[in-house]
C-alpha cells in the first residue's frame, strides 16, 4: 500500500460523501399513491400542554380538544360569524341580555357510553370556575360574565344561564374550548374538582362527545385520535378513522414528511415554504389571520432616550417594513395600521387602515436631528448609548427582523445589540428589570374584538393593562379604551378608537409591523379542508381522495 493510494482514497471518500449527500437535486419520483387513506397525519411543532378543556389555553391543545369535546354551539367551515347548534339544538336570550336558555340535544353519548345531560353542562361550567386553572389562567374567559350560581338545570335537557354582566361575546365564549362539556361521572371518578388545582388525570385523558376520541397521547411524539362510534353526528359520508398529530422539532423532518407523503399536513416555517411550494402533490395556501407582529419599546428603560416620543417616532421610520414582509415572512404578511388588525371591526378608525409610518431613514434622521440628538464625531447619536434588542430564542423571522433593524439603526448612527433569550429569561427581563429597550413580539386573538388588542397594547397599567410593560401611559387613551369597552354604540366606539389612535400613533409605544398569514401546507389528496381562525383543525370534516 503506497501513500499515494491512501491519499487518493481519502479524497475520493470525501467527495463521495458530499456527492451522496447533495446529489439529489434531480427528482425522479412519480405520482405517489395516497398513503394511509384512512388516517390524517399532521406534523407540527408543539406538543399539547393539556387535554383538559378547563385548562387549555394554547393552540396545540385546542387542536386536539376541538375534535374530542364539544360545546353547546359550534362553527362550520370557514365561517366565523355564525353560531351553529352543537350540543344545544337551539337557544334564546332574555331582553336584558342576561338570561340564556339552551335546549340540549338528546340521545347524545360520551365516548365511554355515558349519557350527556344538563347535569354535565352545569358541572363543566362550574368546574372551570372552581378549578380556576392556575397554570393557564384560562378561566378568566368564563368568569368575565359567569359565576357558579349562573348555571341552572331546568330539566335533563334544558339549561338556563344567568350572566353576572351583560356580555355581547357570550356565545363566542361557549365556542371556545373552555366552554366545552366534560362527563361528570368520569371527572368525579378521577379526582373530581378541587379549587385552584388542576386535575392531573384530565390533562392526560379525555372523554368527550366529539367525533373522535383519544387513542393515546405520547408526549413529544404523537396524539392519536380514533373515531368515536357513539358520535351523534354519525359516520355517514366521508371521514377518516384515525388522526395522528405528530410532534417534530426539526423543520427538515416535517418538510421531508410532507414531501414523501407521510404527512398530510405539516407545519412549515416561512423560510422553508419554498421547499414545498410547487412540489407535486403539495398545496400551499395562505389564510389571513389576526396574528400581529410588533416591536415593543420600553419607555421606562434605563436608557432614558426611549422615553422621548421623537425617538420612538424615529425608530418607527427606521424599520424596514417591506423587508420584514418580503425577507422575514417571505411575502406572507401585510402591514398593520395600528393596534387593530385589518379585517377586525373598527380597523378603519386607524387612518382608514393606511399605515402612518413607512420606512424612511431621511425622515428618521430629520426627527432626531430636530430633537437635538445629533451624531457625534464618531458618527454615533445618543452619546454612543447601546440600544438593546431582544427576541425569543428559536424564532427565525424575528432574528431576521432584528438583525436587519440593527443595520438600519447603525445607518442612523444608533448602536445596538441583538440578543436572543429563552422565554422565561425574556419574561423576567421584560417584567422585572429595566434592562431592555426593544423586544420583538407577537399577539394572537382570544376572541374577535378590537378590545382584545388595543387595551393590552396601549392601555396603561392603571386600568389593568400594559401587558408588555412598556410603561407607556396616556390618560385620554385610557379613558377612550374604557369608553369603547363599555359602550354598545357603534359611532361612539368608533370615535373613541379614532381619538386614541391619533394620540398613540404619534407617541408610539411600539412599532406596528404587520399581520402575518397562516400557511397550512398540505397534500392535495386531502379534501374538505377549510381554514377557520377560531376553530382550526376540525378533523371530522376532512377526508382523503
Amino acid at each position: 500500500m503506497n501513500n499515494k493510494k491512501v491519499g487518493l482514497l481519502a479524497i475520493g471518500m470525501c467527495l463521495l460523501m458530499i456527492a451522496a449527500s447533495f446529489s439529489g437535486c434531480v427528482e425522479t419520483e412519480t405520482e405517489i399513491e395516497i398513503k394511509n387513506p384512512d388516517t390524517i397525519v399532521f406534523y407540527t411543532i408543539g406538543d399539547p400542554k393539556t387535554l383538559d378543556p378547563a385548562d387549555a389555553y394554547d393552540t396545540a391543545s385546542g387542536e386536539v380538544i376541538f375534535s374530542i369535546y364539544e360545546g353547546l354551539i359550534t362553527y362550520k367551515g370557514a365561517d366565523t360569524e355564525t353560531f351553529y347548534p352543537s350540543l344545544a339544538t337551539d337557544w334564546s336570550v332574555s331582553n336584558d341580555s342576561l338570561t340564556w336558555t339552551f335546549n340540549l340535544r338528546e340521545n347524545v353519548k360520551f365516548s365511554n357510553g355515558n349519557d350527556f345531560t344538563a347535569e354535565d353542562v352545569k358541572y363543566s361550567f362550574d368546574r372551570v370556575l372552581i378549578m380556576d386553572a392556575p397554570e393557564s389562567g384560562v378561566s378568566w374567559i368564563l368568569s368575565q360574565c359567569m359565576d357558579t350560581n349562573s348555571t341552572k338545570i331546568i330539566d335533563d335537557y334544558t339549561i338556563e344561564i344567568t350572566l353576572t354582566d351583560p356580555y355581547g361575546g357570550f356565545l363566542a365564549l361557549l365556542g371556545y374550548t373552555v366552554g366545552y362539556i366534560v362527563d361528570k361521572e368520569t371527572v368525579e371518578a378521577h379526582g373530581g374538582v378541587v379549587a385552584d388545582t388542576e386535575n392531573e388525570w384530565m390533562k392526560e385523558h379525555a372523554v368527550g362527545t366529539g367525533p373522535y376520541m383519544l387513542d393515546h397521547w405520547t408526549h413529544k411524539t404523537e396524539v392519536v385520535l380514533v373515531k368515536n362510534e357513539n358520535y351523534w353526528g354519525g359516520w355517514d359520508g366521508k371521514h377518516v378513522d384515525k388522526v395522528v398529530i405528530k410532534t417534530a422539532d426539526e423543520p427538515a423532518t416535517r418538510i421531508l414528511a410532507l414531501l414523501n407523503g407521510d404527512a398530510d399536513f405539516a407545519y412549515i416555517p416561512y423560510e422553508n415554504l419554498e421547499d414545498v411550494e410547487g412540489e407535486d402533490g403539495v398545496i400551499v395556501q395562505p389564510y389571513d389571520s389576526y396574528d400581529v407582529v410588533l416591536v415593543i419599546l420600553n419607555t421606562k428603560s434605563n436608557n432614558a432616550y426611549l422615553a422621548e416620543a421623537e425617538v420612538r417616532q424615529a425608530l418607527s421610520y427606521a424599520f424596514n417594513y417591506q423587508s420584514a414582509i418580503d425577507d422575514a415572512y417571505i411575502g406572507y404578511m401585510s402591514r398593520l395600521p395600528g393596534c387593530i388588525p385589518v379585517g377586525m371591526p373598527y380597523y378603519e378608525t386607524q387612518n382608514n387602515g393606511v399605515p402612518v409610518y413607512d420606512y424612511d431613514l431621511v425622515e428618521a434622521e430629520k426627527i432626531l436631528d430636530d430633537a437635538g440628538y445629533t451624531e457625534n464625531d464618531d458618527g454615533y447619536r445618543f452619546n454612543a448609548t447601546t440600544f438593546r434588542i431582544f427576541y425569543n430564542a428559536g424564532n427565525a423571522e424575528r432574528l431576521k427582523m432584528s438583525l436587519s433593524f440593527q443595520q438600519e439603526l447603525t445607518e442612523l448612527g444608533i448602536i445596538s445589540t441583538v440578543t436572543t433569550e429563552g422565554w422565561p429569561q425574556l419574561l423576567h427581563r421584560m417584567f422585572a428589570t429595566s434592562d431592555w429597550d426593544i423586544i420583538f413580539m407577537g399577539w394572537g386573538p382570544d376572541y374577535n374584538d378590537p378590545d382584545d388588542y388595543i387595551a393590552p397594547f396601549v392601555g396603561s397599567a392603571d386600568i389593568g393593562q400594559d401587558t408588555y410593560n412598556t410603561g407607556w401611559k396616556n390618560e385620554t387613551v385610557d379613558e377612550m379604551i374604557l369608553k369603547a369597552k363599555y359602550t354598545t354604540d357603534h359611532e361612539e366606539r368608533s370615535d373613541a378608537y379614532q381619538t386614541a389612535f391619533d394620540i398613540y400613533i404619534h407617541d408610539p409605544p411600539m412599532i406596528f409591523i404587520g399581520q402575518r398569514q397562516y400557511i397550512r401546507p398540505m397534500r392535495d389528496w386531502v379534501q374538505g379542508y377549510s381554514y377557520n381562525p377560531v376553530r382550526e383543525w376540525y378533523w371530522y370534516d376532512y377526508y382523503k381522495e
Partner: protein, 340 residues
C-alpha cells in the same frame, strides 16, 4: 472483596456524587435571571394573582439555600417537581422518555461495539494493508464529524432520496405501541408477541442508532486495533504460537479476549458520550427520548426538567460504569473488585 460488597460500596459512593450533581445543577439553574412562575402562568397574558400563587407554590420567594432544601426534600420522596414545558411532573416525563433513550443507546452500542471490534481486529491483523487504511480512515472521519450533520445527511439520503428507511419516530403510522412493560418497544412487542410492532421498532431504530453509534464505533475500532496490536506482541501470544496453535486460534482465543479489556472500558465511557449525543440525534430523528426533552427544556429554561434529566443521566452513567467494572472482572480474572 465479595461482589455484593463491592456493589454496595459503589452504590453508597454514588450518593455523594448525586448530591454533588444536584448542587451543581441547582447552582447552574439559579444563576440565571428568569421567571419560571410567569412562564408557567402563560406569559404576558397571565394574571398577576396566578403568578404570585405559583411563585408561592414553587417557593420562589425563599432564599436559594432554602429552595435547595425543598428540592432535596422532594427528591427524597421521588418528586422532581413539575415540568413547566409539559405541565406534568418531571418524573412522569422521565418515565416516558428514559426507556426510549435507553433503547436507542443500547442499540447504538449493539451496532457500534461489534462492528468496531471486528473492524479493529481486521485493521490490526492486516496492519498497514489497504483494508487497515480504509478502516482507520473511516474511523477517524467518524469521530471528526459533527453528529447532527451526519444525522441530517443520513436522513436526506436514506429517507428522502433513496427512501429505504423511515424518516423519524419509533414506530410506523398505524402500528400501535406494545403494552408497556419495560418501555423498550422491541422488548415489549416481543413480550406481547406482536411481531409487526417489533419489526417496525427495529426498522425505525436502524438509522438513528447507527448515527448515534458511529462515533463510538470509530472509537472502539481504534481502541481494539491498538490494544490488539499490543496484545499480539505479548509473550503469551508467542507461547500460544510455540504451542503450535493455528493463527486463527491464536488471534481469536488468545489475543482477542485480552485485547477486549481496554475496549470494555472505552465502551463504558462511551456510554456517556452516547447519552450526550442522544440530545442531537433524538432532536433530528424526532425520537421521543430524554435527549430531545433535555434540549427543549434547556432552551425553554425548564430547569426542573433539566435537573431531573441530569440526575437520571448521572445515575445511568455511573451505573453503566459499575456494570463495566463488573464485566471487566469477568473478562480479566486478574482484576480484583475493590481495588480503588
Amino acid at each position: 472483596m465479595k461482589t455484593w460488597e463491592y456493589i454496595t460500596r459503589r452504590l453508597i459512593l454514588l450518593i455523594p456524587v448525586l448530591i454533588g450533581v444536584t448542587i451543581l445543577t441547582f447552582v447552574v439553574s439559579h444563576v440565571i435571571p428568569a421567571d419560571p412562575a410567569m412562564h408557567f402562568a402563560g406569559g404576558p397574558k397571565a394574571q398577576p394573582e396566578t403568578i404570585e400563587r405559583i411563585r408561592e407554590e414553587l417557593h420562589l420567594n425563599e432564599p436559594v439555600l432554602v429552595q435547595y432544601f425543598y428540592y432535596l426534600n422532594d427528591l427524597v420522596h421521588f418528586d422532581l417537581g413539575k415540568s413547566y414545558l409539559e405541565s406534568r411532573p418531571v418524573t412522569d416525563s422521565l418515565a416516558q422518555y428514559f426507556p426510549a433513550t435507553l433503547e436507542l443507546t443500547i442499540f447504538a452500542m449493539l451496532i457500534s461495539i461489534p462492528l468496531g471490534i471486528v473492524g479493529g481486529i481486521i485493521s490490526a491483523i492486516r496492519r498497514n494493508k489497504l483494508s487497515d487504511h480504509i478502516t482507520r480512515f473511516i474511523a477517524i472521519v467518524g469521530y471528526s464529524l459533527p453528529i447532527f450533520w451526519l444525522a441530517l445527511m443520513f436522513q436526506y439520503a436514506f429517507a428522502y432520496q433513496i427512501p429505504i428507511l423511515p424518516l423519524e419516530g419509533r414506530l410506523s403510522i398505524g402500528v400501535s405501541a406494545p403494552p408497556p412493560v419495560t418501555g423498550l418497544f422491541v422488548v415489549d412487542s416481543l413480550l406481547a408477541g406482536d411481531l409487526e410492532a417489533c419489526g417496525s421498532a427495529l426498522y425505525h431504530l436502524l438509522m438513528p442508532a447507527f448515527t448515534l453509534g458511529f462515533a463510538t464505533l470509530a472509537l472502539i475500532l481504534r481502541m481494539t486495533r491498538s490494544s490488539m496490536l499490543e496484545v499480539m506482541g505479548a509473550d503469551y501470544i508467542r507461547t500460544a504460537r510455540a504451542k503450535g496453535l493455528s493463527e486463527r486460534t491464536v488471534i481469536f482465543k488468545h489475543a482477542l479476549r485480552n485485547a477486549l479489556i481496554p475496549t470494555v472500558t472505552v465502551s463504558g465511557l462511551s456510554f456517556g458520550a452516547l447519552l450526550g449525543g442522544a440530545v442531537l440525534t433524538e432532536t433530528i430523528f424526532n425520537w421521543p427520548g430524554m435527549g430531545r426533552f433535555a434540549a427543549s427544556a434547556v432552551i425553554g429554561l425548564d430547569f426542573n426538567s433539566v435537573m431531573g434529566f441530569t440526575l437520571v443521566v448521572a445515575i445511568t452513567y455511573v451505573l453503566a460504569n459499575l456494570i463495566v467494572d463488573l464485566l471487566y472482572a469477568v473478562i480479566d480474572p486478574r482484576v480484583k473488585l475493590g481495588g480503588v
